[in-house]
């Protein structure tokens, strides 16, 4: 490492990295601490993990989270795929409007969006609940999915589809045999990202869940508002491991994708 030449920035960097990691380390230690008051180390135990897994609100929370994340991911992918297929052959003005709305969905403060959707449901006398949360998550997740798929589609060569069409394939067959396989890695990355967004989301879920079973992040939120307990730490660690794994998977797919598309981009020039 190049430390001595940049002593000041090295010291700050080490301090900052420690500050980023230490709080998480404390939670790991809490989750294994047999001392319920967490004041001192009372020996190691897996009791809190047992309690976390047996906690009914955690179980129902996980069920709700997986249902919502699964449904909103599927919807987001459907919206994003058809959207970017349109985008590819759209005019400049259409593209600009499409892009603006995509970015706006990501940039808008979530609390504003959540209460806006809350208003819509209240006004139309629609019931809040799992379905409302799925609708809300899909608005945001589909924007993230769109960004990834748009990037993927821009490196796909339209000549391949034209060739398939010239050879007599029906439009549906061209889509199924040429476009879709080309998009698939991008769909995987976009799907993972959409899933992670939904899995992690607090604000939209909090406003729209109504009286249905709250998803896991909302359950955690209501637990941590006033207390710090080893059981919450155990739940937190389980969630953390799952989220990091999801993100790492999405990241690996994106990196892989970048490499593969880099190669296929190089092909036409070599020919």
């Amino acid at each position: 490492m190049n430390v001595r030449r940049h002593l000041f920035s090295a010291v700050v960097s080490v301090a900052v990295l420690l500050c980023l990691w230490l709080p998480l380390a404390f939670i790991v230690i809490d989750s294994l601490n047999a001392n319920e008051l967490l004041a001192t180390w009372g020996g190691a135990t897996t009791r809190w993990y047992g309690e976390a897994v047996d906690d009914e609100s955690v179980r129902s929370g996980l069920r709700a989270t997986l249902t919502i994340a699964g449904a909103s991911t599927a919807l987001s992918l459907a919206l994003a795929v058809s959207g970017v297929l349109w985008y590819r052959r759209a005019g400049l003005r259409g593209r600009r409007a499409f892009d603006a709305l995509t970015y706006l969905r990501i940039m808008l403060p979530e609390v504003v969006f959540a209460v806006a959707l809350f208003l819509l449901f209240a006004r139309l006398d629609l019931q809040l609940g799992t379905a409302a949360v799925i609708v809300g998550h899909t608005v945001s997740s589909s924007a993230y999915a769109t960004l990834i798929l748009r990037a993927r589609l821009s490196v796909l060569d339209p000549a391949l589809e034209d060739a398939a069409a010239d050879l007599g394939a029906s439009p549906w067959r061209v889509f199924k045999r040429v476009t879709l396989p080309g998009l698939l890695p991008g769909m995987l990355a976009a799907g993972l990202l959409a899933f992670t967004f939904s899995f992690d989301d607090v604000v939209t879920s909090l406003f729209l869940i109504g009286t249905d079973d709250a998803p896991l992040p909302v359950v955690i939120l209501s637990k941590i508002r006033f207390r710090i307990e080893p059981e919450i730490s155990a739940i937190a660690i389980l969630v953390l491991v799952f989220t990091v794994a999801l993100f790492a998977a999405a990241f690996a797919v994106v990196v892989r994708l970048a490499r593969v598309s880099g190669r296929s981009l190089a092909l036409p020039e070599e020919r």
Partner: protein
Amino acid sequence: MKGGARALRPLLLLPTAAWVAAFFLVPLAMIVAYSFATISLITLDVSFGLSLANYRELFDPLYLSTLGRSVVLALGATAGCLVLALPLAFFISRQPPRWQRVLLVAVIVPFWSSFIVRIYAVARVIDDGGPLEDALRALSIGSGDLGLAQTRWAIGVGIVYSYLPLMVLPIYVALDRVDRSLLDAAADLGAPARRGFRRVTLPLALPGVLAGCVIVGIPALGEYVIPDVLGGGKTLMLGNVVADQFLKTGNLPFGSAVAVALLAVMAIVLIGQRLARQVVR
């Protein structure tokens, strides 16, 4: 594609367009409409119109101070992120590629952990009698009674902690692109290293700094969960005022007006950033 398929092409836009219109644009329009409506606090009936009463209520000292606090907290947290991220990003960009990757992962992985878990981790550390107080006592800085928990400082710490990687990454990318030969040239012409940093590296990293400030500042301004958990659930930031009006008080028109005010502040920030970017160029 054949003629029939081409005619159907606009249909591809339909799902996204319908979804975004129904569940994004219409709700936002409703927020604006509600912000001009009035509510009877007895029957909770909303009557629409062009009343400015909600916006006038915004100028109540209570809400003005909340607005001010939100802006100060968002600005302060952004500045805090910047002060920490700049040396870190600089340090990373000066390492050999393998170490760069290791350090970037070290910055990103905590960010990948669940948002709510990160907030919980901060609450744990800054809690009264928590590790931070212990550490300060051990180093004999201050009396050991920090009293940080449930204050606006705690909110600032929470925002900096959870948003820091969003500041580090764009600055790192900008620094990584800086042409080293420019620095060599500065050195050859007799500029000391510190001067080379100030006159060459920093200006070239400025676009990354601006991007980072927007990426951190905008969500920080509208933050709801962090003040709710770390600030003790008082009406500390605009996001909490909006949330309270909808979830507790039930004064939807006033809550909508606060939301519109939040959007207005956000728009000002974005326009400011655009102007700043032109100046930088």
